[in-house]
Amino acid sequence: MRWSKVRTVAWFELRSTVRRLGYLIVTFGMPLFAAMYAALALVPGYLVKQQEAALRTYGIVDPSGALGLSNGERVPFDNAEFVRFPDEAAARRALNQAREIRSYFVMAPDYLDSGRVLAHTGERASLGPWEGRDELNQLIRSRIVGKDLDPRVAARIVKPITGRDTFRVFADGRVQPESSDAFIGRLILPIGFVFLLFTSIVMTGSYLIQATATEKENRVVEVLLSSLSADEIMTGKLLGLGSAGLLQVLVWLGMTLGVRFGLASLVLPLSVQVSWQAVAIAPVLFVLAYAFLGSLMLGTGSLGGNVRESQQLGMFWAFLATVPLMFLPVMLADPHSLVAHVLTWIPFSAPATLVFRISLDPDAITAWEIAGSLLSLVLSTWVTVRVASRLFRVGLLLSGARPSFREILRQARLSS
């Protein structure tokens, strides 16, 4: 392999791709489009939040007298407020004519025996009649037990848990406080990893296939093959177009992080805790996975008779990178289950699975398993690049209809 030539191809591919109008539009236009879409999606959420923040008033009719409220008495609960009406007629007037309340609840006369409460909503109401049920539960609990018990006991019955402080206990005995959303934070790296891997492979794959199909069509490929080996062309393309794809993903990531930190408190109030082992191994796995899947895509994609066929053949591999996502629930339940162990050793799923497992529980995966998985991935990548370069060479010289499997094998044998 002559690396100076590989570098020349890589630089040419990178330079010609990033200067394309289509690339620039996708690179900078996609985040803007996504931002606009996200902004639109946030509007309803914001409006609902505003509505929730506003004081909601509900009526209550209590012929059983279990609550011990006097007529017209108002009881506030967080953003809700209950008003006692003497009878249903008064509650109905407040609901449909005066529109003072959103709905009203009628407690059965034998409430203490039956526990029955009837919810009534207005003619024009769009929300369900049981909106405010949580607050009603608290109201009933506080009124029924509050009378006879110690106020502290009553408060615990009404609201048994007031906080969600979480701690993480490590195998070496250390105990660390952990925020309630740290678990989600630990998933950010592996999910982000799979997303980046998948996106960069899909984006790069489409550039690779497009570039190769164009070279086949305009016959530049013969000039290239007269100066470089198929291995050198393929490696150069993988590096150059891979860099273009990665650059695109980094731009998106940068813009996303900008938005994330800019609007941190508003949009994503997550405290991200990432294991350093996962951070250290993720780039290595990314490169290996990219070389492994990218060469497979390029090798098989080059066998297509036209761009569409090439994309169908090539994209098959990109989806294999997402297989670990399908097993995510299994790995969340137990990152060291048999399924997780098996996926760790399969080259297609090893990169994402390793990152998942290390992120979820860095201490429980053994060094030999990491080393073995990496070794299997390195070996598979080596074999794949060799096979793919043969397919690539065969594919470059073939034109017209897709060759039969037998023809591919024959040509690959001859090109060795």
Binding site: R219, E222, V223, S227, S229, L414
Partner: protein
Amino acid sequence: MPVLRFEHVQKRFGSKLALADLSFEVQKGEVLGLLGPNGAGKTTSLRILMDIVRADSGRVELFGQPHRREHLSRVAYLPEERGLYAKQSVIDVMEYFGKLKGLTAAEARSRSRAWLERIGLAQVEKTQIERLSKGMSQKVQLAATLLSEPELCVLDEPFSGLDPLNTVLVKELISEIRASGRTTILSTHQMSLVEALCDRVALLSAGELVVYGEVNEVRRRFSTSELRVSFDGELPALPEVEQSVEESTDTQRWLLSDGADPQRVLERLVEAKVKVTRFERVLAPMEDIFIRVVREAGS
């Protein structure tokens, strides 16, 4: 030492025999015309030479050594089915091709500019390839091929698509390559250009080498006994001349009878004190040889 030697090279595509036991060589500094009808195996031979396809058997030597990919940095190839990166500028494509042949970026750029000047396309340096005419693209590709000053230039149909003016330009370029002591393999169907440019020809038919040798020797080999004579005076009796055709007032073409000696004809003219200003053997045109040989091989 030959620059290129094919020894018993064979290549098959499926059931089709593309090359059958092909052997020939190309000497340093000469222009070899690689001729043959469509499907004769010319492009396959060139692709084997450029390591684009591999021979099934036989041996290829380049620059006196067994063929190795490293040697190809000294060889430039203009393929028959050619194309360039349509969306790139002329200078970028030329620079890229130059770098692939081992030039530095600066060398490739300065040589590209010089070549564009040479072929009269300096003004399109920054133009996108897709905006060029077909003839312009052809010239750009030829220039990009020759940029690295290769020791061996392999040109597959370099004249196709060129107007007469540009044909003359390419002829001049090939002559310049030859004058500089470098070697050219020229595959073309234009036989007049073969006669004008080539030192040696290799004519293939159905994957076999059917004619190989120096151009004039081949033409002599395939020529009938025909003379072109310009003279002034009364002609004596010439029993050797079977038939004569007047080409102009003072020039005739004479077809001699079988076994007749042209020297004897000249002696008779001298004896008769005829003033002879031209006396030459008419060589068979390459086109006639091509048609005859290919038909015979086909039958």
